[in-house]
Symmetry: C2
Subunit: 168 residues, 2 copies
């Protein structure tokens, strides 16, 4: 399914070039620590957390601080070059709806809205998935901006806190 092996390292250097180009374009300075973080990120095929990136960077450059890693990660995130897993940037959120349903995630305010769709409920996954393990259910996560955030001209990250935790 993932047919990534053939071009893993090419994809890596390509991604690295993307990071540096985008940084230069954004007027962001290319410090050695940033370059090293870029290298680590470009090479990864997994979904590391900030600590994992930090550890990997420290192997080559032992003095980089945790903070710099966090800052760089969010910088790239703001530029749209890395994403975060799941809708929330913060605490765990619960979903009391256990029936089949899907999510509309607003990248502006963090609100998550349920929606139902019979056609999306029984999505067929590619056959290769069976080699991974057993899938119990699938759900679609649609990311975008809700009307309020569109109107407010709100971008993606930042201001993600106030409404994010609803229920007063």
């Amino acid at each position: 399914m993932t047919r990534k092996k053939p071009d893993a390292s090419e994809a890596s250097t390509e991604r690295l070039a993307l990071y540096t180009a985008a940084s230069r374009a954004a007027g962001i300075r290319l410090t050695p620590q940033r370059l090293e973080i870029f290298r680590v990120l470009a090479a990864t095929e997994s979904h590391p957390d900030a600590e994992a990136v930090h550890r990997a960077v420290q192997r080559v450059m032992p003095t980089v601080s945790r903070d710099t890693v966090y800052r760089t990660l969010w910088r790239l995130h703001d530029m749209g070059l890395v994403a975060t897993l799941g809708p929330s940037r913060d605490r765990v959120r619960f979903d009391t709806n256990v029936g089949p349903h899907h999510h509309l995630v607003c990248l502006g305010c963090g609100l998550v809205q349920d929606f139902v769709s019979a056609t999306l409920d029984g999505l067929a996954l590619p056959p290769g998935v069976s080699q991974w393990g057993r899938v119990y259910d699938t759900q679609v996560e649609a990311r975008g901006l809700c009307l309020a955030c569109l109107k407010a001209g709100r971008a993606t990250r930042e201001t993600t806190q106030e409404k994010a935790s609803d229920e007063r």
Copy 2:
């Protein structure tokens, strides 16, 4: 899309009954604080975090502790009566793959595996979604157990920490 208004409160009492029945069946005591937490959860249409639930419960029962809310929430989660949003229970994880792809989330070890599927990339959402706002991209999250966890007979939650943060 969400056609929930007609039966919101029915769904709520129904859900409350489900919680109490399941608890009784599991031999879990129905304390007043738990019942109140159940009521709050059964009534919510959103995706609250633990703090939000705590605040809502405290409005009616000011002495309940934060801890009891957490414990009850995870209890329900273990019974499969509430879910969490997104794959991670802990820190933020990053995804360096910005191209269209989808996720296989292992509920046992927390590992997330990418997979690609052209048919899943351009999923059509129900028309009602346009009233919510603008969707920039959709991705499928398939939840299940990877081979290793299946073999280890690992259930869902718990032991979710070790492998969850890969990249060494």
